[in-house]
């Protein structure tokens, strides 16, 4: 089988969690071989990131280039094209960078492309079988990918679990010279940080998170009252922000904030992966949803099938009751 590479995203010297998930995915594709990590960047941060990986990857290719101090997918694609051997299989995390990099990379490498893979079903001759979802996660599909001339595959974050194996002592190989000078038609200017809202949801231990099920702006108060009673903060999923019922700073998800609470109450949230991607650290997840078939019940620890508009106020009342009793 062809060589498997995992493109690793990193920031400030720390690699993304996806690095280890990609390793797990690679092993599922080819249990006999170890994947090679490949990183691009510049300076001390890049070196620290490479060092980070040496416990999980036997070989780590480093592309250091001043122009890559900020990860510009257009430049990185050019670099990877110069360095990757023919017919490689390249794994990338399916998030904003992967979406930017991977499709074009598959063209330049003249290989197949399949995105947002959740599971590897197996390899048959030169055909890789994967599992994907369509229609916003409502159905799953088996997809066959011809990997005879390699493939670029983006992996859904969180779909493959990190494996703790015996520590490897990986070597870092500098491929910068093979890359040479890089230019592209797109140049990074700056990052505009999201406006800090009044509340920083990443700092709370309990989050009461609301989704489309809250139905209208006025009902957000119901969640707020519960949050106040519990000493928690209110977060939300993307549709709530799109409808302008809450500020963007409250959004939990791949394009919002990443949170690590101890307890997460998902109220009226269906469980789309983009939202779940923002929940890290395996909190205790309680889901309240009117729809017993909501995907959230697959990932929650405890589920309640009920109307959140009725459940939450009663829950709030009970909390107040408990506190009054405790105060006596």
């Amino acid at each position: 089988m062809a060589r498997i590479f995992a493109y690793i995203a990193h920031k400030g010297g720390v690699v993304d969690d996806s690095a280890f998930e990609l390793a797990a995915a690679a092993r599922k594709i080819d249990p006999t071989a170890s994947p090679t990590a490949i990183l691009a960047g510049w300076g001390a941060d890049l070196d620290a990131a490479c060092k980070n990986l040496s416990a999980s990857y036997p070989e780590i290719w480093k592309i250091a280039n001043e122009g890559l101090a900020y990860p510009n997918a257009e430049l990185i694609r050019k670099g990877l094209t110069k360095v990757l051997p023919n017919n490689s299989i390249v794994l990338v995390a399916h998030e904003h960078f992967g979406i930017d990099l991977a499709p074009g990379l598959s063209i330049k490498l003249n290989s197949a492309f399949v995105s947002d893979v959740l599971d590897i079903a197996g390899v048959e001759n030169a055909s890789l079988n994967v599992v994907r979802q369509e229609f916003g996660g409502q159905v799953s599909a088996h997809v066959q990918c011809d990997i005879s001339s390699g493939a670029v595959i983006t992996i859904r974050p969180g779909a493959f679990k990190m494996q703790n194996g015996a520590p490897i002592h990986g070597t870092v190989i500098d491929k910068s010279a093979d890359v040479g000078a890089l230019t592209a038609g797109r140049r990074y200017l700056e990052t505009v940080v999201a406006e800090a809202g009044d509340v920083d949801i990443t700092k709370h231990n309990i989050l009461v998170s609301i989704g489309r099920g809250i139905q209208e702006k006025e009902n957000v108060a119901i969640a707020q009252e519960l949050a106040d009673a519990l000493g928690a903060a209110v977060g939300c999923s993307r549709p709530v922000v799109d409808a302008k019922w809450m500020e963007k700073s409250r959004q939990v998800g791949s394009s919002g904030k990443t949170v690590k609470p101890k307890v997460y109450l998902a109220c009226g949230i269906s469980g789309a992966f983009q939202h779940l991607a923002g929940i890290k650290g395996s909190p205790f997840l309680i889901a309240i949803n009117k729809n017993p078939k909501a995907p959230i019940f697959q990932v929650a620890d405890v589920g309640i099938v009920d109307d959140l508009l009725e459940f939450l106020p009663e829950l709030t009342a009970k909390v107040h009751e408990m506190r009054t009793v405790a105060a006596k």
């Binding site: 489309r212 099920g213 139905q215 209208e216 702006k217 006025e218 109307d307 009725e310």
Partner: protein, 726 residues
């Protein structure tokens, strides 16, 4: 009253002046009015020339008899007095002007007996007008009733304008009275026969005051009073078209041309049939030029009385809409648009300049404004026309785009599948006892139960559908539903300005109705009722379920068991499209009063003054900026009236009121029930039922027993419901 010799009022110089003033005055007035009239000629057509007898009758009722005025008692009485006084004084005013030119002028037909009677009338008329004007001025300037207030965003206060006009009127009356009084006083002093002045009238008082004033002074007073009257009269005439008092002149026309058909909407373009609508490039009102002449006449005729906004529910909850200012802003735009002096301007879009989008979308079309306006002004047509313009330009809030798109693809605003439209009949318990037939074009039913979208798809409202079906069964109605073939009635689609989509929905439904072969239609949804009655053509006659129940209560087919809980207090909330727009107030009340043990109270705002629950159809999806929900206000009104159960006869009212009960924190203290649900609950299936009908559905169509709140036993209160979300 004429021909006094003691003063040479009619010297040549004087006469020239008294000819010139009227001439100049009339010339100015004509110029101004012509200027005001020109935009009407250039405006869109409006076909108002039909049914002249009916229009004349309405002029007699609403203009002459001032029918709507007493709805606000004090102001109404004051106005009636002013108006009647003005009418009476018309002849006298004309005579006065003529006297300046022909000193012995007497109005033809007013000599002799008629003249004497008139003389008395006019004196009292003048006095009453004067008193009214004084009271009115004190009321405006001192007491400042709330409805005249001008919120900051709309500009300066109007009290000065009002008091100014009132002073002009007072000046006219006083000048005229002094003119007569001074003459009478002089006659008295000279020992001549004194012109008759009605006892205790203003001129009479002034005469007595002036009795001891020297003749010379009287002479000057007489001349001066006349001059003042002349100038003021023509100044007043010219000022009328410049502001809200234009209504003095235009009111008669405004009432004559007023809309005759309640509940209907104006077509996209008068005189353009639907087949030719594709030739109309631009729908709706986008710039001032798009208004019809009647709309512009409305703007001119607005008397700034504030009664519309005082009753507007959107205004009451702090939405940006105020019907009064909708009109006044347009009026000012009209004035700027073709100014008295200067070049006319045109083409500026109204929304974005004088109107905001939210203002236009805020209206629930409840009709309270139109019900109140003493001049019979129309608002709904204008709002709909403005919405048509916004839709035409694609300028629609995102929250409304989704349900509109769903209506286009699926025929209902929720995006639910057509084949599931009849699923409400399949509830297990219900289906065992009550089999609702879906009409499939093979005939077999006389009556169609038109369910419409919310009742068919909303979990909570489906119980209204089931209750209605059971009632129809009980009275032996041979009915069916259209099921998947029924699309949304399109009532709100039309009122939100999407005329083309409405026509598509309507045409589909009309075909399905015709194919079913039914002879009549019943619905429990007042919006569907209004649509089928007024928006649809060529469909069988339609009734609301409350009318059917009321009739069958009277006929004895429906008898009621007494209420289990006797201590609830019920109040009936009039849905806008059953009550105000279609005048069905008594049938639901008669039904409630026929239930033994039911205690009923009236809210202070009921019948044609009912307060809108918040609106239906697409309005449920719109996200308004408001201080409070209309439903919350309404629920508090019910509590104030002493009720703890609100009965309504509209699924949208039910949605809004049940939501409001929660939002207002009144759960456990207030409940809501639909009329059909209550009737179904209380229908007696007792001893008068024969064995044969036992085999039919009636006996076993039990009212749905389910967990309810503590307030009402046996009420179906299924809490899950479908609102503005997927």
């Amino acid at each position: 009253m004429v021909g006094i010799q003691f003063v040479t009022l009619w010297s040549v110089a004087a006469r020239i002046v008294f000819v010139l003033i009227p001439l100049v005055g009339i010339a100015c007035f004509s110029y101004i009015v012509a200027n005001r009239f020109v935009p009407l000629l250039r405006a869109q057509r409006d076909l108002r020339f039909d049914r002249p007898l009916l229009r004349l009758w309405r002029v007699l009722k609403f203009w002459l008899a001032q029918w709507k005025q007493p709805r606000y008692l004090l102001a109404g009485v004051l106005h009636i007095v002013l108006f009647a006084g003005f009418l009476v004084l018309l002849v006298h005013s004309f005579s006065l002007v003529m006297i300046g030119i022909f000193e012995h002028f007497v109005m033809p037909g007013f000599s002799g007996r008629v003249g004497d009677v008139y003389s008395v009338l006019k004196d009292y008329a003048a006095t009453l007008v004067f008193l009214s004007v004084v009271i009115a001025a004190i009321r405006r300037a001192v007491f400042k009733p709330a409805r005249y207030a001008v919120p900051e965003k709309y500009g300066k206060d109007h009290t000065a304008e009002a008091v100014f006009i009132l002073s002009l009127i007072a000046t006219l009356i006083v000048a005229d009275s002094l003119f007569e009084a001074s003459e009478a006083a002089a006659q008295a002093q000279l020992g001549q026969p004194v012109d008759f002045l009605a006892a205790l009238s203003l001129p009479w008082f002034l005469k007595n005051v002036l009795l001891s004033v020297p003749l010379r002074a009287l002479r000057s007073l007489h001349f001066g009073a006349y001059l003042v009257h002349e100038v003021t009269f023509f100044a007043f005439l010219c000022v009328l078209p410049l502001g809200k008092h234009f209504h003095v002149i235009t009111s008669l026309l405004n009432v004559y041309f007023a809309k005759l058909d309640r509940g209907t909407l104006k077509p996209v373009r008068w005189g353009v049939s639907e087949d030719h609508l594709d030739q109309v490039k631009s729908f709706g009102v986008k710039t001032f030029e798009d208004f019809t002449w009647k709309h512009i006449l409305d703007f001119y005729s607005c008397a700034d009385c504030g009664r519309c906004s005082d009753n507007c529910p959107a205004n009451a909850v702090g939405r940006p809409l105020s019907p009064r200012f909708l009109t006044l802003k347009a009026r000012d735009c009209a004035f700027q648009h073709s100014p008295i002096f200067g070049a006319p301007s045109n083409g500026t879009p109204l929304v974005g300049s004088i109107y905001s989008e939210d203002e236009i979308w805020s209206c629930t079309t409840c009709g309270a404004c139109e019900e109140e306006c003493p001049l019979l002004q129309e608002y709904i047509d204008k709002i709909v026309d403005l919405r048509r313009g916004l839709i035409d330009d694609g300028n629609v809030p995102q929250s409304l785009q989704k349900p509109l798109k769903a209506l286009e693809s699926r025929g209902n605003p929720y995006g639910k599948m057509e084949k599931k439209k009849g699923d409400w009949t399949k509830a297990k318990e219900f289906q065992q006892t009550c089999n609702v037939r879906v009409l499939n074009g093979n005939g077999g039913a006389d009556t169609l139960y038109f369910v419409d979208s919310i009742t068919a798809y909303d979990d909570r409202m489906q119980s209204i559908g089931r209750a209605t079906a059971k009632i129809l069964n009980h009275v032996g109605e041979n009915f069916g539903i259209l099921g998947a073939a029924e699309k949304d009635s399109g009532h709100e689609v039309r009122r939100f300005g999407e005329e083309t989509l409405f026509m598509a929905l309507r045409d589909h439904n009309v075909e399905a109705i015709k194919a079913s072969g039914v002879k009549r239609i019943v619905t429990a949804d007042p919006h569907a009722f209004n649509a089928l009655k007024h928006d649809y053509k060529d469909v069988p006659p339609v009734e609301h379920i409350s009318q059917v129940i009321a009739r069958e209560v009277k006929s004895g087919k429906i008898k009621f068991d007494p209420l289990e809980k006797a201590d609830n207090v019920y109040t009936y909330h009039d849905p806008c499209y059953l009550g105000r727009h279609n005048k069905i107030y008594d049938d639901p009340r008669d039904v409630l009063d026929a239930i033994p043990g039911l205690k009923r109270v009236e809210m202070s705002r009921s019948r044609d003054r009912s307060f809108c629950c918040g609106g239906g159809g697409l309005m449920l999806f719109y996200e308004p900026k408001e201080d409070e929900r209309m439903g919350v206000k309404r629920v508090r009104m019910a509590a104030e009236a002493g009720a703890n159960v609100i009965v309504t006869a509209c699924p949208f009212c039910m949605v809004n009121i049940e939501d409001a009960i929660k939002v207002a924190g009144m759960e456990g203290k207030m409940t809501a029930i639909d009329l059909a649900e209550l009737v179904d609950q209380q229908i007696a299936h007792g001893a008068d039922v024969t064995a044969k009908s036992l085999l039919n559905n009636s006996l076993s169509c039990h009212p749905e027993q389910s967990e309810g709140s503590a307030v009402l036993a046996g009420t179906a209160t299924d809490s899950s419901s479908l609102r503005a979300s997927e």
